[in-house]
Amino acid sequence: MKSVVGPIRKLLVANRGEIAVRVMRSARELGIRTVAVYSDADESAPHVQFADEAYRLGPPPARESYLRGDLILQAAKRAGADAIHPGYGFLSENAAFAKQCGRAGVIFVGPSPASIDAIGNKVNARQLARKAGVPTVPGLDRAVKDGEDLSAIAKQIGFPVLIKAASGGGGRGMRVVREPRDLARNIREAGGEAASAFGDGSVFIERYVEKPRHIEIQVFGDRRGNVVHLNERECSIQRRHQKLVEEAPSPAVDAKLRERMGATAVRLAKAVKYLGAGTMEFLLDRDGSFYFLEMNTRLQVEHPVTEMTTGTDLVKAQLAVAAGAPLAWRQEDLAPRGHAIEARITAEDPFANFSPQAGPILGLAVPSGPHTRWDAGIREGGAISMFYDSLIAKLVCWGSDRLEAIERLRRALAELVIVGVPTLVPFHLHLLADKRFRKGDYHTGFVENEFSMSGLDRPHLAEAAAIAAALEYRRRRQETPDANGSATPGTGSSAWKQCALREGLRS
């Protein structure tokens, strides 16, 4: 398998939303022309508007658009793109697509298909890790077979156990099982979920570590075999295995542990000749021991906390090494400086069991100011589509220490106003005020088991909101009789009557 190398003059971004915009920003700064692809749901989305060129893929569902590698390669050919950046999700960890890019003579901005095959699959990755002397969680070193005697396996590992999909990520296809009798059903369900999400239903089993922290190490390799790490990210604030808040450095990692985990990650990346940006995920036990979980062979959602603490641009570095350049960093220049925290802004209602929400963005006020970063794929007048992930933006703040970063993020969250869909903003405000979180005293089960949103929706806020709604309703009604609340000054009372009439008809 030959690898395509060469200067990148035009880059197709095979993604949408905030990550597509973020990738294009770095490309622009490098003087690289940008090409967007889009589904019918995204025809006037920010990532399309941002690009120099844009090509339609197909109907809204991802399987008919953003997952259609063939259409994406056609667009790349039409545009004359030298390279494709896959972002995260969609085709970013798809070795077959990376291979197709190579065959088509287009640089795939990511590791080689061989690396993806070797370490992108969780079962392979565990075996690789063992060979490289990297500790892993005790478990089955291969996928579960149909009709296998599960009780023997489970007894050998010990309950509770964790069932995980062999492909993919983001918590889909994951189940914790505490009782032997629940095992078979959960394996079946997890397999089904994995099949529909990743097209691969195989699952495996490992020991479930209680109250661990999710710590990941950012690694970066070039084509000459150099690999460095850019320290850890702490991602234990999760819900249903979906990360909600990430920070760097971790409150649980000191310089010594950072060096050990970093060296471990670099060793493993070198073992697969890793190219570009990748992330080694570890479980950190309360006793300080850590276990390799899996590797994400792509850019992570949470990469900005690393960029803010190391003064780097990971996308630029991806593009540079993909084009054949050597790494521009020495390990000793990459020590973390200060602290950064990211709040994922998803269209989910934290007061309604985090249910995903779709709808129009009717109003948007964006935070800014010192050491504050806003990465978004939304704009006022746009909409959140039901067809894609609920992640709509990320708010990231840097501080000279952890507490400053937390207070800055609270300040920035208070500036953020998104009208039209419920978001995670109230969750974040509540979390950042939580004493345990502020002390750094949390683990991957914290949000689900030890944290609650109840009591947050204070009555005086609802009153103030109702007053604002009433006054705005009154103002628009006095101005206009029409349903869109536009500005035709009219007499208050006749306008009122027409409005009541229309609403009467509607009910």
Binding site: P61, A197, A347, D349, F351, A352, S355, P356, A358, G359, L362, G363, L364, A365, E380, M386, F387, Y388, D389, S390, A414, L416, V417, I418, V419, G420, V421, P422, T423, V425, P426, H428, L429, L456, H460, L461, A462, E463, A464, A465, A466, I467, A468, A469, A470, L471, E472, Y473, R474, R475, R476, N484, G485, A487, W496, A500, E503, G504, R506, S507
Partner: protein, 168 residues
């Protein structure tokens, strides 16, 4: 002028009068003195007595969306007389008679319809599956009963609040 608003279970009946520099608002128990930034745009300032808030407010179809301290409130806004009418209507219709409607909690795609009209269902039993934002959501019956009607069709996109089935 009187306004009736609903947000979830909460109801507000507010009377609004203009006063120097702003408005006097009363809900029957409390009186607030309000200043409301009258420029256009979705993000405005509202001062409730002495408390200053930055508030997002916009009309969304039949409701008003208000965002305060990150929290999203969705108000059905009607004048008070109209609200009375509506309640009378609802009392007369099936709402009080044990009829239950299954509506889409979020916009999505109906990926499976598990029951048909005429089927008996138990409380908590899945009636259909709604896919949205990469997750599959089972829509379950709120109580025991019989399906009077199933409006949803597999493969169809539905809007939030759209009627999916009726249980009697």
């Amino acid at each position: 002028m009187k306004f009736a608003l609903r947000h979830g279970e909460d109801r507000f009946e507010l009377s609004v009068e203009e006063e120097a520099g702003g408005y006097r608002v009363n809900d029957g128990r409390t009186t607030w003195h309000i200043r409301f930034d009258d420029r256009r745009g979705a993000v405005r300032g509202v001062v409730v007595d002495d408390a200053r808030h930055s508030v997002g407010v916009a009309r969304k179809g039949d409701t008003w969306d208000v965002v305060l301290e990150g929290i999203n409130y969705e108000f059905l806004t009607r004048d008070a007389r109209f609200e009375k009418l509506l309640e009378l209507q609802q009392a007369r219709s099936g709402v009080a008679s044990g009829r239950a409607e299954l509506r889409a909690p979020i916009p999505g795609l109906v990926t499976a319809v598990l029951k048909s009209a005429g089927d008996e269902v138990r409380e908590g039993e899945p009636v259909l599956v709604l896919a949205a934002m990469k997750l599959e959501n089972e829509i379950r019956s709120p109580r025991d009963g019989k399906l009077a009607e199933v409006c949803a069709k597999a493969g169809a996109a539905v809007e939030k609040g759209e009627l999916l089935a009726v249980i009697e």
